[in-house]
């Protein structure tokens, strides 16, 4: 089920929350589990299989790991649990990708499985892996309540794209939910804002990007190529951050505190800064469970560097089975390393605007890798973007599309930078009765306006 669909917003969500709030105490977990299974099964019922297998495997493995804690058996059990998780992920999510790569490299004719990448598999696999690793490391006791554990694994809000949550952060709320009015109100606001980001901005930016893609990369004018990058940058940011807002909001309404996932990444003044603001939960997971395992503290420089590049390659692969995602990860990692080596020191002496321009240039090029499936297309596109293609500097298509999408471009720029929050806090700090009243009024009204606009657009665009 998609967050930005009539079925989810107008049917699933009201029915779910009515049942959830009516359910007493721990039965809320039953409602949440059943709701999550319905959410997940809607669209791809067959994809429940890997999720159930993964949840059962890790639940049993964790109990056994705890039993043999401190012994060699625990390590074998951990390896077995992780191996099983990765096999599921590989088979259901990445098998075709590797088969295609092998066929391309070695000229083999291996038959592809043709199984669609199940939604959320990359999220819940990392969640279940972190659970068994934490049990192995002794950070948490193994869960003994299958219902609570299954609820954690299948929880629908963060399934589409995160934020990835750890069992240790939710186990308290799974046992005993403490909900208050303020938490629900904040959650509801986040849901409205998230839906508006996805339906009003991300989808429109996606449409612009699709229209730009009608022109072959080699024939694009320089201006059109950059408009395309901008459209894609807005599409990907508002999709991910919109979905994360909805997930965090839903979590809050249910009594869970999910971690923040995006912190205005397009306001970053270096690539390091950008990476620290983009999909923070995923980056945090990779750092804790992969990077630190491969290159523990005091590791040599080369090992650290290799671990770092591998981490970012895997982060790229997490987004989908495509080499261009991996290349995007490597591209970002390269600049992160350069900044750590020397550029970071140089940036400190440059004006903020130049630092921001440099960071956005690197990110923009990274998005070209992310947006296109073919490396040749990426190179052709970049040639056009830097004026080395067959297109002109400026063309009618660019001017037409800029006029068509001008309000979108303005809104997306405005909301992707921390302008609104600064304006609101500026008003609130004004210590002036009027400015405080305006802030309060805006805070009360804007979620409703966002929701109303999103719903209107959602039901109106189908015709």
């Amino acid at each position: 089920m998609e967050f930005g669909s009539v079925v989810f917003i107008l049917r699933f969500l009201p029915a779910f929350f009515i049942l959830y709030y009516l359910a007493p105490g721990r039965t809320k977990n039953v409602v949440l589990l059943l709701g999550s299974l319905c959410f997940y099964a809607w669209g791809e019922p067959i994809c429940l299989l890997p999720m159930v297998l993964s949840a059962c495997s890790d639940f049993i493995h964790a109990l056994l790991i705890e039993k043999y804690q401190g012994k060699g058996t625990a390590k074998i059990l951990l390896s077995s649990a992780l191996f099983f998780d990765l096999c599921l992920l590989f088979f259901f999510g990445y098998a075709d990708f590797f088969i295609e790569t092998a066929n391309g490299l070695f000229g083999t004719r291996l038959i592809q499985i043709g199984f669609p990448l199940p939604v959320g598999i990359t999220v819940y696999t990392l969640q279940t892996m972190s659970y068994v690793i934490d049990v192995y490391r002794g950070k948490i006791p193994a869960g003994r309540n299958l219902l609570e554990y299954a609820t954690y694994v299948t929880m629908f809000p963060q399934l589409p794209i995160g934020p990835i949550v750890r069992y240790r952060d939710l186990s308290g709320a799974l046992k005993n939910k403490k909900m208050n009015l303020h938490q629900i109100s904040s959650g509801a606001k986040r849901i409205c804002v998230g839906l508006a980001k996805k339906i009003l901005i991300a989808d429109a930016a996606g449409k612009l990007w699709s229209e730009i893609q009608l022109t072959a990369p080699g024939e694009m004018s320089l201006a059109l190529a950059w408009l395309g990058i901008l459209a894609f940058a807005f599409q990907i940011y508002f999709t991910f951050s919109g979905y994360s807002d909805v997930a965090i909001g839903l979590g809050a309404c249910m009594g869970f505190a999910f971690p923040e996932n995006f912190d205005h990444p397009y306001a970053a003044r270096s690539v390091t800064d950008f990476l620290g603001r983009w999909n923070m939960a995923l980056t945090g997971w990779m750092k804790e469970y992969f990077y630190q395992a491969v290159a523990p503290e005091k590791s040599g420089a080369i090992r650290t560097m290799i671990a770092f590049i591998l981490t970012w390659g895997l982060i790229g692969l997490w987004y989908g089975p495509d080499w261009t995602f991996v290349l995007c990860g490597f591209w970002m990692a390269l600049f992160y390393l350069v900044e750590r080596l020397f550029l970071g020191k140089v940036l400190k002496f440059l004006p903020s605007i130049l630092c921001w321009a440099y960071a956005m240039l690197v990110v923009a090029i990274g998005w070209v890798f992310f947006a296109l499936e073919d490396v040749t297309d990426v190179m052709t596109y970049l040639r056009s973007a830097f004026g080395m293609g067959s297109g002109a500097i400026l063309d009618r298509r660019f001017l037409f599309l800029t006029l068509e999408y001008f309000p979108l471009l303005i809104c997306a720029s405005f909301f992707s930078l921390p302008v609104v929050s600064r304006l609101l806090s500026g008003l609130e700090n004004g210590r002036n009765g009027m400015s405080i009243a305006i802030t309060r009024f805006l805070e009360k009204v804007y979620p409703a306006v966002c929701l109303l606009l999103a719903l209107t657009y959602l039901v109106g665009r189908g015709w």
């Binding site: 669909s5 917003i9 107008l10 049917r11 509801a188 009618r396 298509r397 979620p447 109106g460």
Partner: protein, 373 residues
Amino acid sequence: MEDKKNDLFTIGIIAVILLTFAVMDLLFQAGLIHSAGTKTPDPLPMFTARSFLNGKYFEDYDAYSVKSFYKGPQWSKLVRGTEIILGKREFQGILLGKKNTYFESRSGKKTGETAIADSLDFLEKLAADFDAKIMLIPTADEIWKDRLPAYAAYFDQEEYLDSVRERVGEDRYVDLLQTLNEHKAEEIYYRTAPYWTSLAAYYGYYAWWEKSGKLFPYYYDLDRKILVTNHFAGPFVKRTGMDDRGEEMFILKETEGKQVTVCYDDRVTIEGYYRPEYLDAQNPCGYYLGDEFGLANIRTESQRKNVLVVIGDLNANVMIPLMAPHYSTILLINPNYYQGDLWGFLAEQKGEETEYLVLQGVLDFVELFDVKE
């Protein structure tokens, strides 16, 4: 206390909006309320074990749930209206130009050089082998360029038509670009459809007559035109779902009530040029001689034993009633639908009393040669 009131207000207003939409949706789906335009919800998607397992059912249901929302078309108009106010001009591949004129968008479309070259070769061969007259009709975005939204893409038809004239020779080329440009201030194209009107066809007829060497033109009186409808809403309106009041459609008095039979694809024979049943159809331009046929064999009242073979689209349908008095038989081939061997068919018709004519919109004609990969 104040914070609690604020929180309650926020939750309340969001819940009210969400539930209002949800209840509207629910009651409408249950058939308890009806909305104009969509009296009953669309039929539910087909549920089968296969469609359930491969996810197709859910995909269709998601689309269905949006499409069958209460008063869907009105919500759509609201969204469109807002987008127009915000400056959007392209909807579903249709451009909304000045004076409420719709144009087919050429955004991202590139007419291939091969298609252009192939189409010119085709015309040259047709002119050389069959002495065909070439009458390509510039489309509205050429003549009414000034009505296009700013910076909208368009195909330079003038340059293409110059090449056509050069390849087929001045004698066989009927210059409609100049003719229509002279009348560009008049309603020579439908605002809501990609075709010329009876008025443009009237000007086109006289341009053709001058070139054709016919002794006398058949005289038409524009003052005696007959209004067919003043709510003509062409396919562009239907495609975009715009709220358009429609426009006038008229025919020339002299073309009505003729003893004419039209046989479509050797299957169905109908009398008369006009098909009123098309006025409420998806493409009301089918009013002129129908739509979606490969070959129409038109027998007129003329006592002459001559034949006109026309390769043309719906634009040709508009003009054929005006040309009919000069021929006893008109064979109209619509290349968009014709499945047979075109060159073979043209050769079969060859004779002293047979004339050939290409009468088609420029863009539609060139696109025939645009072979998609």
